[in-house]
């Protein structure tokens, strides 16, 4: 894998990321990858409280990286992955900005799709990030969505039920 093992699987950073470069790095010189799925999450302008001007992402330094690493390890235990990468930004973001990237590589497409969806579902409920939106009426902390609990629960049913 030409040193691919040395690539970080998880990053929590203020800076933006480059999808093309990250995917190229993940694929490396492998000839055994048949499928790569990426998920990019972006800041939407229109939210529950109308048009926002910006968003501030708070996190728990140290614990966040650990949470992402745990979720990545769980995905690697569940699916045969040739590679996996998760990047989550924090700090001040504007509408249209990228927030999160998840990349999964596997021999076959179903494993890559499922692992990427799993990573996003678990990240949503387990990684210690909190969003505060700033709109015309000031700042407002985003409420957690019941739908995110439901989305994550389907993976528990699939593996334990």
């Amino acid at each position: 894998m030409d040193g691919a093992a040395a690539l970080p699987k998880v990053s929590v950073q203020r800076e933006d990321f480059d999808l093309g470069a990250e995917q190229a790095r993940l694929a490396g010189t492998s000839r055994d990858i048949g499928a790569i799925v990426s998920f990019t999450g972006l800041v939407r302008e229109i939210t529950g409280q109308g048009a926002i001007e910006s968003m501030e992402l708070e996190h728990w330094p140290g614990r966040t990286e650990k949470a992402l690493a745990e979720i990545v390890a769980e995905a690697e235990a569940r699916w045969p992955l040739n590679g996996v990468r998760a990047i989550h930004r924090y700090g001040r973001l504007a509408p249209g900005d990228r927030i999160v990237l998840v990349l999964t590589a596997s021999r076959h497409r179903q494993a890559a799709f499922d692992a990427a969806a799993f990573l996003m579902d678990y990240l949503k409920i387990q990684a210690p990030f909190w969003k505060k939106e700033t709109g015309p009426e000031g700042g407002r902390w985003v409420d957690a969505r019941d739908a995110d609990e439901t989305a994550a629960a389907r993976w528990r049913t699939a593996s334990e039920g």
Binding site: E58, R63, K66, I99, F129, D148
Partner: protein
């Protein structure tokens, strides 16, 4: 014992961390009862416990987690990343 607050709980308390003596508190929930008396901000932060999550020494759990011997307890609202 080191106590951490995040997001709107941090804002209501007025700061992100504090050192406290847990006294006789055996669980995070009992610790909350002590913390609530420290200031109006603390009382506001812990006003609705259904919206409060916690972690004892970085282990996520519910308010009934034991805190005996813990170095750190963190309180935060449900996470909203991704």
């Amino acid at each position: 014992m080191h106590v951490l607050y995040f997001a709107w709980m941090r804002e209501r308390v007025g700061y992100a961390t504090e050192e406290i003596d847990p006294g006789a508190a055996r669980t995070a929930r009992e610790l909350v009862e002590t913390l609530k008396t420290r200031s109006e901000g603390h009382a506001a932060a812990f006003e609705d416990l259904r919206a409060v999550r916690c972690a004892v020494d970085e282990e996520m759990g519910d308010l009934d987690m034991p805190i005996a011997g813990a170095r750190e307890v963190a309180f935060f609202p449900p996470v909203t990343g991704g």
